[in-house]
């Protein structure tokens, strides 16, 4: 194990790591929560959802509304789209102090890199099968996103891909594209 567990057990090993004096639980949670996203994020998010609503409404009208007795294809989408727009505009006002969500932190890059590797996997999957892209993804996630040592990253990645191959190709016999 890396140092993570070592400092937790320097006290009595039989004891659960205690976090100082008894604090109100609400405060304890605060320390590991990230700051809320803030008013700008709220405005941006509300405008994006409002835009989705407007786009939906425009296409819905184009689909034809029909009448209440004979509803067309666009009537229901129009009703929901209008609801999206109204609710989004309400959210612009309600959330102007920005009390929810989470700010992006420097760690958010990890999620972005993760997303890019997933897209890479999707692109490569039909071309060269899943083994090599999966191995690379696993290496990147363990070594660079997870901070594992090279040794354990390589070891576990090979192991993981091997097990996945055994399960999805060997045992379940699925049609997932594979090279070997």
């Amino acid at each position: 194990m890396p140092n993570g567990s070592a400092d937790a057990t320097t006290g009595e090993p039989a004891e659960v790591p205690a976090a100082g004096p008894a604090v109100e639980p609400a405060d304890e949670w605060a320390e590991d929560g990230q700051p809320p996203a803030g008013p700008v994020a709220n405005l941006a998010a509300s405008l994006v959802t409002a835009a989705i609503g407007v786009a939906g409404a425009v296409s819905a009208v184009a689909l034809g509304l029909g009448t209440l007795t004979q509803p067309g294809a666009g009537l229901w989408p129009l009703a929901i789209s209008v609801a999206v727009v109204v609710l989004s505009l309400a959210q612009v006002l309600i959330g102007r102090r920005g009390g929810d969500g989470e700010k992006f932190s420097r760690y958010s890059w990890l999620s972005l890199v993760g997303l890019v590797t997933l897209l890479g996997l999707v692109a490569l999957l039909p071309v060269i099968g899943f083994e090599i892209p999966a191995l690379l993804l696993s290496l990147v996630w363990m070594k660079f996103l997870g901070g594992e040592s090279w040794r354990s990253a390589v070891l576990y990645s090979v192991l993981v891909v091997g097990v996945l191959y055994g399960v999805f190709v060997g045992a379940l016999g699925t049609n997932v594209p594979h090279l070997f």
Binding site: M1, G4, D7, A8, E12, P13, A14, E15, V16, P17, A18, A22, E24, W29, G33, P36, A37, A41, A44, A45, G53, S59, G64, T67, L68, A73, W76, P77, I80, S81, V84, Q91, I94, G95, G99, D100, G101, E102, Y107, L110, S111, G114, L118, L121, V122, L125, F130, A134, L137, S138, W141, M142, L145, G146, E148, Y156, V160, L164, F168, V176
Partner: protein, 512 residues
């Protein structure tokens, strides 16, 4: 009696070796992911949906149900030992459970929680056995107007009762309804929002949406959170609760069972709300409320019993009305649809083996979980030593390959990734993915019921109010929608500084 015969047949279904095995697999997975902070039951069920294609419907649901209630047991362990709730429904257990652990009574807390969970779960199964057929019988007369009203009310309640920003949850739900309209319109044959893409012509599949929003979204989000180190706990000793502990918590367990059962049935209710309500109830009726937060055993027994009872009873609306009461049940709904079974009042009579098989599997599952939570708790605590950095790519790859195997389609995998990114962003911007998925699942039922009703009523919306049940449901809908607004306006008049007090404990709120 015919129904007793069905119950007995249900046991025969459960005792088939395959079903027993899947029940065991389900509860073990549930227990594991309950212990591991990060992936919740909804995410896990979403990720494992492709696995259910190849098996019998009853087997699939037995396993998925096992994951759901198994996670309620597992979530307790990390709450008590690490002050780190593995599941949202175990958040309140942290308060007294971890205080007990600090006093060296972790074993007592875990033991009482396990026994309470078992009793709560069992009481709820018995309740489910008797109540579900009655509700289903009542709902057999429901027509399109009732279903439209019920679906509307369900979506509204799920969006507004959950913690977090309510308007944002409603926006998410509305967008879920909009997503459900993608594809060919069943009434006119017109193609809606397909952008001339053949893959979209049949609409967006439920599974990639759920796998993306719940599964991959959660995984991407955890990549960022992972740097918060988890310290594996030391040894856990003496998990067997003493007679005195059990006696002290007997009242809390009884109240938790009843409260949890009823809160689980309500749309928007479920395990999380039930555990919080049970904690509040115990604190309120205690002679010395100041003990709470400092290691009151009732503060563990009540919520842990209630969350299990609620997890079980939340199957009632799904299996009897075909209306999922929460996000996890929306996944079960999706899983049943995949199997070609539409949940609804006819389920009990048309598929009794499925209905009673699933219900009765819960008895077995609860016994298995009791065994795993008391004698085997040490094994599960060790799981915490597996590092998140290694688990993350494993879950991501299972999701990706699983998504491919549904239709052997790369487009599906891409959809999962796209919805994964959407799910991540939703979390960052304070939108709950649950209401979106629930609304997406109910979208086509809601639209077709509404349109059929309009045809029935000759285009007049007043028709909804001429039928007693749909009228009642719609009145409740309006009340639920309008009352919070009225209250907010009144509060603002009473004290001009906007107060941000929410009844439920909300992590985001506390972190200001």
């Amino acid at each position: 009696m015919e129904s007793l015969q069905n119950v007995a047949d249900g046991f025969a279904v459960v005792l088939e070796p395959t079903n027993l095995l899947y029940c065991l697999v389900g509860v073990v997975i549930g227990m594991l992911i309950g212990v591991l902070p990060g992936l919740g039951p909804a995410a896990t069920i979403a990720i494992l949906l492709p696995l259910t294609y190849g098996v019998e419907p009853v087997t699939a649901i037995i396993m998925l149900a096992g994951i759901f209630y198994g996670a309620q047991y597992g979530g307790t362990i990390t709450s008590v030992l690490l002050r780190l709730p593995g599941e949202a429904s175990s958040v309140v257990t942290v308060l007294d459970g971890h205080a007990l652990a600090r006093q060296g009574k972790a074993g007592t807390a875990l033991g009482v929680a396990a026994v309470g969970s078992f009793i709560g779960g069992t009481v709820a199964i018995v309740g489910l056995t008797f109540l579900a057929p009655v509700v289903a019988g009542f709902a057999l007369d429901f027509g399109p107007p009732e279903y439209a009203a019920l679906a509307l009310l369900g979506i509204l309640l799920v969006s507004t009762i959950a913690s977090g920003a309510k308007v944002k949850a409603l926006i998410a739900a509305a967008i879920g309804l909009l997503l459900a309209t993608v594809g060919r319109d069943a009434f006119t044959g017109a193609e809606r929002f397909t952008f001339d893409n053949l893959s979209l012509a049949d609409g967006i599949d439920f599974v990639p949406v759920a796998m993306g929003l719940f599964g991959l979204g959660e995984i991407l989000y955890n990549l960022e959170e992972r740097h918060r180190a988890v310290h594996p706990p030391g040894k856990v000793t003496n998990v067997w609760p003493s007679r005195k502990d059990l006696k002290e918590s007997a009242g809390a367990v009884t109240r938790g069972s009843v409260l949890g059962f009823f809160l689980g049935i309500l749309p928007g209710g479920g395990a999380t709300i039930a555990s919080m309500a049970a904690y509040a109830a115990e604190k309120k009726r205690a002679k010395d409320p100041s003990r709470f937060g400092k290691g009151a055993i009732e503060g563990v027994a009540g919520p842990e019993t209630a969350n299990n009872a609620a997890a079980t009873s939340s199957f009632i609306p799904l299996l009897t009305l075909g209306i999922p009461a929460n996000a996890t049940m929306a996944l079960m709904f999706g899983a049943l649809l995949i199997q070609g079974i539409t949940p609804g009042p006819q389920l009990v009579t048309e598929h009794p083996e499925l209905f009673w098989g699933v219900v009765n599997s819960m008895y077995i599952g609860n016994v298995l979980l009791l065994i795993m939570s008391i004698p085997l708790v040490g094994v599960f605590v060790r799981i915490l030593r597996v590092r998140a950095a290694i688990l993350a790519p494993v879950t991501a790859l299972i999701t990706m390959i699983g998504a491919y195997t549904i239709n052997n389609s790369v487009f599906d995998v891409l959809l999962v990734v796209v919805f994964g990114a959407v799910g991540y962003l939703m979390k960052k911007f304070g939108f709950e993915p649950g209401p979106l998925v629930l609304a997406f699942v109910l979208g086509s039922l809601l639209e077709s019921s509404l349109r059929r009703s309009l045809l029935m009523f000759d285009g007049s919306a007043v028709g909804f109010f001429t039928r007693p049940i749909s009228a009642t449901l719609l009145v409740v809908f309006v009340l639920v929608a309008v009352l919070p607004l009225v209250r907010a306006v009144r509060d603002r008049r009473a004290n001009p500084v906007p107060a941000s007090d929410t009844p439920v404990i909300n992590r985001e709120e506390e972190s200001v």
